[in-house]
Amino acid sequence: MATPSKRTNSPVLDGLRREQDTPTAWIFALPALAGLIFFVLAPFLLALFLSFTNLRLGSPLPLEFTGLRQYARIFADAAFLRALQNNTVFALMVVPVQTALALGLALLINQPLRGMVVFRTLFFTPVIFPLSLVSVIWILIFAPGPDGTLNSLLQWLTLGAWEPRDFLHDPRLALPAITVTSIWQGVGFQMVILLAALQSIPAELYEAARVDGARKRQQFVHITLPALKNPLTFVILVTTILAFRLFDQVQIMTRGGPNHATTTVMYEAVNAAFGSQQVARGAAMTVVFFTIVLTLTLVQRRIAGQERATS
């Protein structure tokens, strides 16, 4: 007998239940709601509001509405524009490389071979390392002079042809160096998500395909990739958003330098609000950051939605 348990969730005709549950439900939800309202929603609205003012902590000037002036100023600011550019470049490097690497590792680990759990553990380990620690370790790897780990490795590989570089102080190499650090720390997270998706594909699908005469490559194209489409768009979205959140590595490894070569939107926003007390300016940058995140999310939703509609 089909118990209509799903239907009990339809609250239209359950007056009594609703009456009895409503006070309890509000008590259950209130602590979380209060937290979200005070520390997420309110600051967000505050950011919108402040970005239209001239607020500066400790400033004697009265609070004034300045309309879009903060936005006009930050978009005229070379450092902020450089930050936007850096974030974009960083995303364009991190997202494809990290996603491809995560996918490759997940596919390798998903094979029915011995010892795969050990590799999974290894690749995931950096995820539990705080970014601050990772940054410090990689500073040593990128250390200048022939003794630096990377320099000496490259020298060995090129049979001494490599000229030692100061990666973190080279305007062309600083951002790529941060990219490598970030990928090293983050790829395990993506890999685990993709691996879970791979393992949730029923084995019968592959067996059926084999019976139908599909080769390995055809199986990959027709079974594996479609099953990975949603997790992949998710992973790409999260990595892109993370790329725009970039802060810790920059703060510790380069402090935005050399000459703004590694500054980021968050680095500029924190410096404005915290370094020079210009809260309104920082708020405006925050709003720009949020707009980027929102756009990326909507694009991902659109892609996932299309996929759902076509399947």
């Binding site: 007998m1 089909a2 118990t3 239907r7 339809s10 005709l13 009895q20």
Partner: protein, 367 residues
């Protein structure tokens, strides 16, 4: 102990489906009513309405004469055995049994005593420290019964309690429930899709179809006088054979039922009252499989059959056949005692005309 009454109860879900339509049903104090019907007929919804898990869209539900529409399950003092038992997987059997008592702030000593009592009745003593995951299906079923009985509920609800058991265990636990019910005499609503369970356990049986109650009565009443074709087919195994026929008045004034090569004189008590001659041309006739006999008896009429298959069940044989010359593709069934082999496809079976049922075009019993 309590009496239950449904008065004009309807239940419409938010998605618009009407699971129960204008239900009127009374369950007397200490009585077990079996609610049967096919999947999706609304019987589980009736149970959930009584438990307080659902609220009626219209009508009233009464417990001991009091309307309980506005009372939640917590205050109704109703116990329920779920189809999948719904035992709390993280608690031992003992804690499962204690849970409803603890919820009523029963003193510890009394809890221990009641658990000991119920464990004795249901033979659960060795299982008290196990968890549901370590129990067999039959044991889980007994624990679920125990959890329902332990707190002396005024009404006892069972939702297909045997459907997850294998056939042998089902028969045994059915017998257990039956003797338990005789001993404890709880007001019980027992939902099942299995007419055998309903017949063996129910003091009375209520038959539902598509949200509507077809008939309520004792097992004997439902078997002897089904009010509709649906009930006639549902009760009995196999259910009643239904076939199209016409009722005609012969030249000599006797009424006869005709279909294909069958021509059966109708005894006076089977004559349809009223009814236009046209309506009598196309009625539906019913015969229980057990009304057929292999040999002529007192007052029987021979009927030619064209057998299509026989099933030997040991103590009896099921013969499936068509009525020669009649349209209709579904074969009829006859239950014959012992091991019968019809010598050839064309043979004769014998019925007593008084075993006939006549239904109108709307499926309602005429006589």
């Amino acid at each position: 102990m309590a009496a239950v009454e449904f008065r004009n109860v309807s239940k419409r879900f938010a998605d618009g489906t009407e699971a129960v339509r204008n239900l009127n049903l009374a369950i007397h104090d200490g009585e077990l009513v079996a609610l049967v019907g096919p999947s999706g007929c609304g019987k589980s919804t009736v149970l959930r309405l009584l438990a307080g898990l659902e609220e009626p869209s219209a009508g009233e539900i009464l417990l001991d004469g009091k309307v309980v529409n506005r009372i939640g399950p917590r205050q109704r003092n109703i116990a329920m055995v779920f189809q999948n038992y719904a035992l709390y997987p993280h608690m031992t059997v003992r804690d499962n049994l204690a849970f409803p008592l603890r919820m009523r702030r029963t003193p510890r000593k009394i809890v221990a005593r009641k658990i000991a009592d119920i464990a004795g009745i249901l033979n659960l003593r060795e299982l008290l420290d196990r968890r549901p995951g370590q129990l067999s299906g039959g044991q889980k079923q007994r624990v679920a019964m125990g959890r329902a009985l332990v707190r002396n509920p005024s009404v006892f609800l069972l939702d297909e309690p045997l459907s997850n058991l294998d056939a042998k265990l089902r028969a045994q636990i059915r017998a257990d429930i039956s003797s338990l019910q005789k001993r404890l005499a709880r007001t019980t609503l027992y939902v099942t899709h299995d007419q055998v369970e309903a017949m063996t356990l129910g003091d009375r049986i209520a038959v539902m179809e598509r949200g509507e109650l077809h008939q309520v009565g004792t097992p004997a009443e439902l078997y002897r006088r089904p009010r509709s074709i649906f009930v006639a087919r549902f009760i009995g195994n196999p259910g009643m054979n239904i076939f199209p026929a016409s009722v005609l008045r012969d030249k000599d004034g006797t009424w006869r039922l005709r279909t294909g090569h069958w021509d059966i004189p109708l005894p006076p008590e089977k004559l349809p009252r009223g009814g236009s001659p046209e309506a009598l041309q196309s009625i539906r006739a019913g015969l229980r499989p057990e009304s057929f006999g292999p040999t002529p008896g007192d007052g029987t009429v021979p009927c030619a059959v064209r057998a299509t298959a026989t099933e030997f069940l040991g103590h009896e044989t099921l013969v499936y056949f068509h009525i020669p010359g009649a349209q209709g593709s579904t074969p009829l069934a006859a239950r014959l005692p012992g091991h019968m082999t019809l010598p050839e496809p064309a043979a004769e079976l014998h019925i007593h005309p008084s075993a006939l049922y006549l239904f109108g075009g709307d499926g309602i019993l005429l006589r």
